[in-house]
């Protein structure tokens, strides 16, 4: 196919009238999908909710459980620690969201999934340990399934992050080279 002038597409787009107000509205709609801006009461609700959750997990429950801790079996203790740890992390996230005043759907959503994932792994380990020591095959099996699935997801995630980070560094390098090439291709400016 025959070549078009290099700037043909850009000039064609420039011909089109675009209502800047509408474009701005659209950008705001997209921003609303990406993040949820919190009102002042909602920010306080998040911070207070987070603090309450932390106090409950790290102070209140341990105080109640402390006296009875020795009576509990390993599995009950593990469940308690995992549940409290997970809830405490969610509390910390809530405080962070309240402090920033913005709930970033993708980032904070990923954090919550991460916490749930860690809790599943902890649960898997507790099940395997208890099942092993009490020679309970079903418990070992259930725990192993959780660990294998969780482990696979974790390894895939780590590998992907490593891959993305490497690719990003390479692209940053490529970008610099492309900028340099563009500068060299540009005709020298007359003084």
């Amino acid at each position: 196919m025959a070549e078009l002038p290099q700037d043909f597409g850009d000039r064609l787009v420039a011909r089109e009238e675009v209502d800047p107000m509408r474009l701005e509205q659209l950008r705001e709609q997209v921003a609303a999908v990406l993040e949820l801006k919190l009102s002042r009461p909602m920010r306080w609700a998040n911070v207070l909710g987070g603090v309450a959750m932390l106090v409950f997990c790290l102070v209140f429950v341990p105080l109640i459980v402390a006296g009875r801790w020795a009576d509990q079996g390993f599995l009950a203790r593990a469940f308690t620690v995992i549940a409290l740890g997970g809830l405490a992390m969610i509390g910390a996230i809530l405080i962070d969201v309240g402090r920033r005043g913005v709930y970033e759907r993708r980032r904070h959503g990923a954090m919550h999934i991460g916490v749930a994932f860690l809790m599943c792994l902890g649960l898997g380990m507790a099940l395997v340990h208890t099942g092993w020591s009490s020679a309970d095959g079903q418990m070992v099996f259930a725990g192993t399934v959780l660990l294998v699935l969780g482990g696979a997801i974790f390894v895939m995630h780590v590998l992907e992050q490593y891959h993305l980070a490497t690719k990003r560094k390479l692209l940053e390098l490529e970008l610099r080279l492309a900028e340099l090439a563009e500068r060299l291709e540009r005709p020298p400016q007359r003084e």
Partner: protein, 190 residues
């Protein structure tokens, strides 16, 4: 024209979104593409302004939701146009306007325009922009994608969902139709 630098920068923005959910990256990406996508969408929805903005909105929402699934960021332009096209088609279907409005559009068979001898020059931009509206939807679509210069023929084929050969022949006839329109309207061509 998209320079290699533009392509790399777009890829970086996609990676920033995938790696860390960087909101600013996806917003910048959409800013870089909004006018080009709107241009294409307007050609698909017969210049109905409200429809065009609805489709662009739908496109952006889909991009935000699905961008992390784009495994090859190098394919971003083709992917964006495909998302825009799918949104436009869904919108047309929902408007029960799927029967392509070809009334008044210039059909290939009626034309006796010159062959590919003369290409379009920068001076033709305004006339080409106006004439696009007079082509049938399928011709308008393929020419718009060619003229925007973001995609190769193979990528256009992927967006439209036809073989590359079909894109070439469709583009050939669409250009003939366009030249015939330009000639008819007295724009020096052919």
């Amino acid at each position: 024209l998209r320079t290699p630098r533009d392509a790399i920068y777009d890829e970086l923005l996609v990676l920033r979104w995938r790696q860390a959910g960087d909101r600013a990256a996806v917003e910048e990406l959409l800013r870089r593409w909004d006018r080009r996508l709107l241009y294409y969408i307007r050609r698909l929805v017969d210049d109905d302004e409200q429809d065009a903005w609805d489709v662009l909105q739908q496109t952006f929402l889909l991009v935000v939701r699905k961008l992390h699934t784009l495994r090859e960021p190098r394919r971003l332009p083709a992917w964006l146009y495909a998302v825009a096209r799918n949104s436009a088609m869904a919108h047309r279907r929902s408007n029960a306007a799927a029967d392509a409005r070809t009334d008044g559009a210039v059909e290939v068979e009626e034309l006796t325009g010159p062959d590919d001898a003369a290409e379009f020059s920068s001076d033709d931009v305004e006339a080409v922009h106006a004439a696009l509206a007079k082509l049938s939807v399928s011709h308008r679509e393929v020419l718009t994608l060619l003229f925007l210069q973001d995609l190769s023929v193979e990528e256009i084929a992927g967006v439209i969902g036809v073989p590359a050969g079909t894109v070439k022949s469709r583009a050939h006839y669409a250009k003939r139709a366009m030249r015939a329109i330009l000639q008819r309207e007295g724009v020096g061509h052919g």
